[in-house]
């Protein structure tokens, strides 16, 4: 077990051996987070996957070329250039297959991705048989070899990160438009293809720069996961990208630090797992779109609809018992409300309890009856009125069968406009109740049990 002081030293970059590696993965994480955000929103996530797999043959060819030219083949810039070239050819191949044949995106990507990867494995196999090849260590491009990163990797990553950051800042508005509405962008005269090429070029740069760190199989996870995690927390693009950069950077930081203590754990995998943990937490707890928030919203909606149903049921029972003009509040047996809808005893009791908490109804436990309060009656009249206006609207204007009309009626004026509401009201016989004009139901109401 590593000592606390060691952990401290690695995390805060005081340890000379790991400092460079950790800085490199932080930079890579930031660049990946940023480009991943655009990639995700441009719906090109799988394109990134194709790109990264298609880099492998390039690495092999570049090595062979360098050896043929008389070097030892381990020149990093040369290898990465080779990777970028075949990566881009891979993307182009996907677009070509998609545009020139009727094969769809997913199939085209599947074909290109595995064929290029297969070609890469074959080329690497050939290199193994070469005298210079056995010690080349080109397999590190597949799984990454974070711990062996050196100053030249660092320089490349700094360059790529600066490039990606400045392009995204300068072209933020352009990329946003491109990702959201390509054809509108084109109609405004923006060179959509050029922007797309710039975006793809930046993604290629990040991917290739990350090959050494996390390897070509895992780089796609490092691109997409922070962005997907960030999306759960915000609905604004700038904040999402910022958060994605932070999550990416943090994953690189913690992942590389963690793997520094356990040399058997490859850093690339740990980094991706840390990013995945961030994703999991975001998916559950994200304040805009997380699972928990969605579940809460859904429950609230259910409660609101349940309350509307209860109030309307009570109102319609009173209405049926009405003698003369005014509605009188009388206690209604639970059984009678229960019979008005297909709701279970339990859900109805829950509903009544919540309405009681809100001061809309009173309960007489002994007689098992429910009584609207004054406030409850006003609310019930309002709910019933809106519901009926909706029904009438749908019957009159949208050819919907009467029996199927029912919907959350909170927003009637807002959606239909006041003129339409006035027109609808004039069509229904109305009477004033509890301060609201309540029209008669446009269809016969089935009396409760």
């Amino acid at each position: 077990m590593p000592e606390l002081a060691d952990i401290w030293n690695v995390l805060f970059l005081r340890d000379y051996n790991t400092r460079l590696v950790v800085i490199c993965t932080i930079l890579l994480g930031c660049a990946c987070g940023l480009m991943g955000g655009f990639l995700l929103l441009r719906k090109r996530s799988l394109m990134g996957d194709t790109l990264s797999h298609a880099t492998l043959p390039g690495v092999g060819f570049a090595f062979m070329l360098a050896v043929a030219m008389g070097g030892d083949g381990k020149s990093l810039p040369m290898l990465l250039t080779g990777a970028a070239v075949t990566g881009v050819i891979g993307c182009w191949a996907v677009l070509f297959i998609r545009n020139q044949t009727r094969i769809k995106d997913d199939a085209a990507m599947g074909i290109v991705l595995s064929v290029f990867f297969g070609a890469g494995v074959a080329v690497l196999g050939m290199i193994q048989t070469m005298p210079e090849g056995s010690a080349a260590g080109l397999e590190s491009f597949i799984y990454g070899k974070t711990a062996s990163m050196v100053l030249s990797d660092f320089r490349i990553l700094v360059l790529v990160t600066i490039c990606v950051l400045s392009c995204s800042l300068l072209l933020f508005k352009e990329f946003r438009l491109l990702c959201f509405d390509e054809s509108f962008a084109a109609s405004l005269g923006w060179p959509v293809k050029v922007l797309d090429v710039i975006l793809l070029g930046l993604v290629t740069a990040v991917t290739v720069a990350g090959l050494q760190a996390v390897g070509l199989i895992l780089i796609i996870a490092f691109l997409i996961t922070p962005a997907a995690a960030a999306r759960f927390w915000t609905n604004q693009l700038d904040r999402m990208l910022l958060l994605s950069v932070l999550i990416g950077g943090a994953s690189g930081w913690f992942g590389a630090s963690l793997s520094a203590f356990y040399p058997r754990l490859p850093a690339g995998a740990v980094i991706v797992l840390v990013a995945a943990l961030c994703f999991l937490i975001s998916m559950l707890l994200g304040v805009e779109r997380g699972v928990l928030v969605r579940w809460l919203r859904q429950t609230q909606l259910q409660h609101r609809i349940g309350r509307q149903h209860l109030l309307r049921a009570l109102y319609e029972i009173l209405e049926a018992n009405r003698q003369g003009g005014e509605l009188a509040i009388v206690a209604v047996p639970f059984r009678q409300i229960r019979g008005r809808r297909t709701w279970s005893d339990r859900s109805l009791r829950d509903c009544i309890r919540r309405a009681y908490d809100d001061g809309l109804v009173e309960m007489q436990v002994k007689e098992d009856t429910i009584r609207l309060t004054e406030a409850g009656l006003a609310e019930a009249a309002h709910v019933t009125r809106n519901h009926r206006l909706w029904e009438l609207y749908l019957i009159e204007y949208a050819d919907v069968a009467t029996s199927r009309v029912d919907r959350d009626a909170d927003m009637v004026e807002h959606v239909l406009g006041e003129k339409m509401v006035a027109r609808l009201e004039s069509k229904l016989q109305t009477y004033r109740s509890a301060g609201t004009l309540v029209p008669a139901s446009p269809h016969p109401i089935v009396p409760g049990d």
Binding site: F172, F180, S187, G189, R231, N235, Q236, L237, L416
Partner: protein, 268 residues
Amino acid sequence: MNVVSKELSSHSESLPELKSPLAIRDLTVAYHRKPVIWDIDLSIPEGKLVSIVGPNGAGKSTLIKACLDLIPRSSGEVMIYGQSYEKERKRVGYVPQRESVDWDFPVSALDVVAMGTYGQIGWFRRVSKRAKALSMQALERVGLGDYAHRQISQLSGGQQQRTFLARALVQDADIYFMDEPFAAVDAATERAIVELLKDLQKRGKTVLVVHHDLATVPQYFDWTVLLNMRVVAAGPTEEVFTQENLRRTYGGKLTLLTQAANEVVQSR
């Protein structure tokens, strides 16, 4: 209106056709070896509300996209105020089909409307305060002032459509191309759009609308293009929108709704 257009042409040296906000000659577009629109010749007079009507697959959207250089033309030319689209781009506003974008995208309604100003802003520069204020005004004009900062997935379908319209308004164009702005909208939105169209017309703008609901064509539009791969008829709605022309446009697909529309025309 004829008088007006004569006056206009007598003031200018150029041919009357060059004054037209949109003049199309011999336009053919083909995808996948199949022509979608054939030899379109069309000249739209200034200040009209024009509906483009035809069955599914008649090439209505294709026509609009070809006018805006969004898809390659097989042949023919499109002139906007007598110039190529490239030159007169700033005078053109575009409302794409609502389904053409991802409404889950992390932007607010105001952000979307502000995109209409990107053409004037140019490369690298940020969206200015002034552009944002203009966008806000446009949102208010379509009745969405209160929704400016909502994320677009939280808007109803009709509100999303109005957001798109506001984005076109902020372009402050002279000719607008709208691809099915009435598709699947609620009553309030339909009214808002119609009022907006009439208002644009009052201010001398020309508006082309791909439209599906034949019953409302005579009520909303004063000019109509009947399209089914080729232009079956184009002209003032009261002259063009006849049972005979509709049958020629829709063939056997003429539905009950269409016949109802005919009765509307005949009863006038």
